[in-house]
Symmetry: C2
Subunit: 215 residues, 2 copies
């Protein structure tokens, strides 16, 4: 049965999944690249982005979960780009270059729908105005038997968690204190009761947590 | 040289070190005993509180760091008891029974000083009105060559961290989402830059972090 999954979603010790001051050259604002350093160092991340090398230890085992079995993605518009409100710059096609690593339809949640953007490699950005249930229904119809991946950012994850739509949530705690930004855990009191939770720390200092929907 | 240490200080995933609704029978408010379950299960904790048994694995290795080499303690008054403002109930002598586990002077920070309370086993609660520097000076004069332990709660730890007075900080992340309470990390942006940080997860699911002052 098709599942809804979140992978490699990093937060600081104080629970921020992104900093403040997002801009074209700073997708995570003042957090810079610190939340994703562990991911960027893995062989999986480098391969996905057309590069070679990278480590193949425990971090890579978690990174490798990101890819297989996905038929559609959902992300918030802040994950797609730094623009807010009506789309002023229609040339912007995401942070991922000409060949994004998704290779399937990506549903971008926005109150300002616009025509789809077809990218190389099978990724199509589709802009839809709807809540988590509506978006998930569209994504699941597209994905068929495959899973749906929720990318982020934090407010999108929170919406899907609040609606109890996520089956698998893999969070990585990075041992830094960001101080400012957008929190993942707000409004999620007792979240752990709906999941079976495991944790493991790796030599680079991060802690990977897996939340699997309790049966 | 005498150091200032924090041990076994537990926080939830969302960074709360205590819940809301502290009361005589609920030192951690709505968090109940969940933040200290890992600690209470150790042989060290049980021995300190006059009980036998308890596990002797990795959690106990961290628990065991709590005790040796301490000459004085400092704690906030909310850690001493649930009363706020002037002391209405002078019979209250802390959560720890007739023989508290400190066995040395404990400086309780309060804006309402009162006479010291001498307990069995060497613990004396001394109530002082002063900031972290003043309290630490008094504690260090008492402790001599031994270390000073800062117990909590979160606002006390934050005050000492803000004043850069802590040499060793051992935090335990418990994989629960409390949702409400008092946060440890607020105002601590970039804290990790002043410390060397290590992390390890144990089979019960908690992650122990050690922050050692960077040299």
């Amino acid at each position: 049965m098709s599942r809804v999954r979140v992978h490699c979603f990093s937060v600081s010790l104080d629970g921020f999944a992104t900093g403040v001051g997002q801009a074209l050259d700073a997708p995570f604002g003042h957090a810079g690249g610190r939340l994703l350093e562990w991911f960027a160092a893995t062989r999986t991340f480098r391969r996905i982005h057309g590069e070679s090398g990278g480590n193949t230890g425990t971090d890579d085992a978690f990174a490798a979960g990101w890819e297989p079995g996905i038929g559609a993605d959902i992300m918030g518009r802040n994950m797609f780009g730094p623009q807010r409100g009506p789309w002023a710059d229609r040339e912007w096609k995401g942070w991922w270059g000409d060949v994004p690593p998704y290779h399937n339809p990506v549903f971008v949640l926005t109150h300002y729908p616009r025509p789809s953007i077809e990218m190389q490699g099978g990724t199509t950005f589709r802009f839809i105005d709807g809540g988590p249930e509506v978006a998930l229904k569209m994504a699941q119809e597209t994905a068929g038997d495959l899973d749906v991946r929720i990318g982020g950012g934090p407010s999108t994850i929170r919406q899907f968690l609040a609606a109890d739509l996520i089956d698998y949530l893999q969070i990585t705690i990075v041992p830094i204190v960001l101080g400012r930004g957008e929190r993942l855990w707000d409004g999620m009191e007792d979240l752990e009761r709906r999941f079976s939770v495991e944790s493991v720390t790796t030599p680079c200092g991060v802690t990977h947590l897996t939340f699997n929907r309790a049966r």
